[in-house]
Symmetry: C2
Amino acid sequence: MDYVGRQQRLREALPANRLDALLITHLSNIRYLCGFSGSAGALLVSPAGSTFFTDGRYTEQAKSEVQAAKLVVARKTPLTAAAEWLGRKWIASRARKSQTLGIEGPYLTVAARRGLSDGLPRHIRLREAPPLVERARMVKDADEILAIRTAVDQGAALFDRALQVIRPGVREIEVAAEMEYAARKGGADAMSFETIIASGARSALPHGRASNAPIAAGGFVVCDFGVILHGYCSDRTRTVYVGAATTEARRVYEAVLASQQAAIDAVRPGVNVSRVDRVARKTLQQNGLGPYFTHSTGHGVGLEIHEAPRVAQGQPEILRPGMVITIEPGVYLPGKWGVRIEDMVVVTEQGCEALAPTQKEFIVI
Amino acid sequence: MDYVGRQQRLREALPANRLDALLITHLSNIRYLCGFSGSAGALLVSPAGSTFFTDGRYTEQAKSEVQAAKLVVARKTPLTAAAEWLGRKWIASRARKSQTLGIEGPYLTVAARRGLSDGLPRHIRLREAPPLVERARMVKDADEILAIRTAVDQGAALFDRALQVIRPGVREIEVAAEMEYAARKGGADAMSFETIIASGARSALPHGRASNAPIAAGGFVVCDFGVILHGYCSDRTRTVYVGAATTEARRVYEAVLASQQAAIDAVRPGVNVSRVDRVARKTLQQNGLGPYFTHSTGHGVGLEIHEAPRVAQGQPEILRPGMVITIEPGVYLPGKWGVRIEDMVVVTEQGCEALAPTQKEFIVI
């Protein structure tokens, strides 16, 4: 991974954002910038270079993982260590004129900010920085796309396992267990989120986790699942019908599939994400299903399962080559059933490529 | 669960802490106080009563779960909704004199605090509250101890599965996969943390997650694992030897076991947690192993896998009946191997009870 380039671009963005340095505490941002995958650390990026702070539990891991940054293993918390280090080194070299240190407002807690502030000399001011790293992370480089592609391939294979297991009477949680077991055996770091297996009326809940409920004969089963492989996430949804499908079930399924395809077709550089959302929504509206599509069309995926951009109404982002987003329209008939179909796509120079575009025909079990 | 009593006691603690109300945003604290188990919500506790804010995704779940609080399903984020609600109702009823709203500093982010503050009328001040809910959660009531006991029993059974799987050449991740599969089939909500299966030299890493490495013939395997069942966590460590054990390996194992037993024996009401830590440490020091016990002796467990109190040097907490803590001394010989033995205990009126105290004799595979 191009840690040097990523840090360099961030460094170059500091002056325009009126920051003398930026203290990165969000773990995904830290991993993106220097490779550290542990759970305690802080990365200080300044014009003079980068310094990574961690604690004694991560000495070996930090030594083997952290790139393009000096390493400080502290006896205290990484944040306290960073504050003390700044007080000693950074400031001394800058003749004690007033300095602005950027912090990550959406991730740093109020208590951590106070602790940091208490440890700093008075002439260092803290300021919430714009989401510079999150913006950079929206556009994936070739190494990242390869990692995501591998994660998507492995994630996609879990649905084959689900198809072997889904039967009337089998509990949702058993299906999830089989998929998660296959993922672990396949070498996944973890699931990228709690596996959703939602059958019967529960399929109408967009966030219905796998429950102890047995799968009923006659109804949809929504399977939403993903893995983390070498830090990168996959995310996919398939919906199957158990039992003899009604005409209405088939009609709704085909409408969701058409909506997804229309949205995928709309993905290309220069297009606003809100337009992709509008296209997905319009197809469902034309089928009289508009009111039942109750969430946004998609989101970015990478080191985090949900990251920028949001593919939703009112969002400002313009698609660029290298962005990786989900396209996941759904229809939810409350108390009855629901259908969702989701794939990840990578924006290319001309349009987009669906990652591991396995069959999406109506499946009856 | 006694949601009414928990909220009542919190309410009674507000005046002494100079708070007119407290806004709870930490999900475990929300679950403890009103039963909501979803991932987006805010609970406002004031003398006049409690109000829970969530968004449209959780309408049904909140209706079925939330107790002892009025429910507000907002179109915006729960925090924004809470701010607007406070601006309209709470303040109007209080004749606009200055009010102090407590926030949870260790959980609320800087950006969320700013958003909340921006949405509030000027005469409501925000102040970091002391950890009132965390302190209450330290002492478990009968319902909670029952839930924890059930989780520990289920968690303990996973080690039987591990013993069937651990063999030279089997990958650590396969052992973890088998245990996690058994947990899911047994109905666990999830694992309470990433399963640790650390073999060979990796057993000397206190936080060695299951890797792709095959288990070597000749060496310890540290297995640290737990489940979440109905929201409550279990946590346990067992260490086994694969191959013909050396005298040194047996000696170190027995020393860790003696250290754990001594610490368990020291647990009773009125004792400072730091004393329990000291007892565990002293036993290892007497065996010349003091420098190799590099972490603290234990921590509270409940709705979170790590919660108050910390069983460590310099900690102020005094043990009280109903507290549930881990006792987990370990010895780590860098580059060589490590041993850790961990059980959860509940403090009783006279002493303590180890939860599911399965055999801890030296096991050779």
